[in-house]
Amino acid sequence: MTPVELVAILLVVAGTFFGLVAVVGIVRLPDLYTRAHATSKSDTLGIILTLGGVALVLGADVSVAKTVILGIFLFVTNPTAAHAITRAAYDQDITPWMRGDGRHAIDESAGPVAGNDTGQPTTGNDAPQSPAGNDAAQSAEGDQ
C-alpha cells in the first residue's frame, strides 16, 4: 500500500465520520435552524474529505478533474441551499428554538427540552403570528 492510498483511506474514513456527525445533528438537534447548521457545516466537510479521497484513488485522469469540480460545486452550493431554506423559514415567521422555554417559543405547554419531537406549531402556511411569538419568547426568556 503506497502512502497515497493510505492518505486516501484516511480521507474517506474521516469524511464518513463527518457525514455521521451531520446525520446525528439533523436527527437530534431541536430546531430547523440548528439542523441547517449541522447540514451546512458537517455535511460539507464530510463531502470535501470524501471527494478528496476519491480523487486520490482515481489517480491522474480526467475523472480527477470531474471530482474536483464536483467538490467545489458542492462546497459552494450546499451551504447556499441551507441558507436559502433557512431564510425562507425565517420569512415564514418560524421562530427559533430558545433556551428554557421547552421545545418552541410559542408552545408554552411543551415538555422538557430533550425528547419532544412534535411541538412546533407554526407551519409555513399559517404564518402571521410573528410578533406574538417573539413577545412570548422574550417574556419566557425574562422569566428565568
Binding site: 483511506i9 474517506v12 451531520a22 439533523i26 484513488v57 431564510r87 425562507a88 409555513g124 402556511n125 404564518a127
Partner: protein, 94 residues
C-alpha cells in the same frame, strides 16, 4: 488505474455507510415538524447520493458515474432554491 483490494473495500464500505445515513435521514422527512425541515432532510439525502455515486465511480472503476453525480448535485441545489423561492413568494408548494 491499479486499485488494490483494500481500497475497493474501504470505498464500498463508505458508500454503504452513506446509504445508511440517507436511510436515517428519512426519519426527519417523516417526523420533521415544518416543511423546511423536510426540505433540508431531502437536500441531505441528495448530497449523500452524490457522495455515494462518486465513491462507486472510484470503487467500481466506472467514470460515467461522476457525470451522473454532477447532474444530480446540480438538480439537488436547484430543488432547494426553487422550493425556498416558492415558499417565500407564493406560500409554499408542498
Amino acid at each position: 488505474m491499479a486499485v488494490s483490494g483494500i481500497i475497493d473495500t474501504v470505498l464500498l464500505a463508505a458508500a454503504g455507510a452513506f446509504v445508511l445515513f440517507a436511510i436515517v435521514l428519512v426519519y426527519r422527512i417523516v417526523a420533521g415538524p415544518t416543511m423546511q425541515d423536510r426540505v433540508i432532510a431531502v437536500n441531505g439525502i441528495g448530497t449523500n447520493a452524490v457522495v455515494v455515486l462518486a465513491l462507486l465511480a472510484a470503487a467500481l472503476d466506472q467514470p460515467g458515474f461522476l457525470d451522473v453525480a454532477l447532474v444530480y448535485g446540480m438538480l439537488n441545489f436547484l430543488m432547494s432554491i426553487a422550493i425556498s423561492k416558492f415558499t417565500v413568494e407564493r406560500g409554499g408548494v408542498i
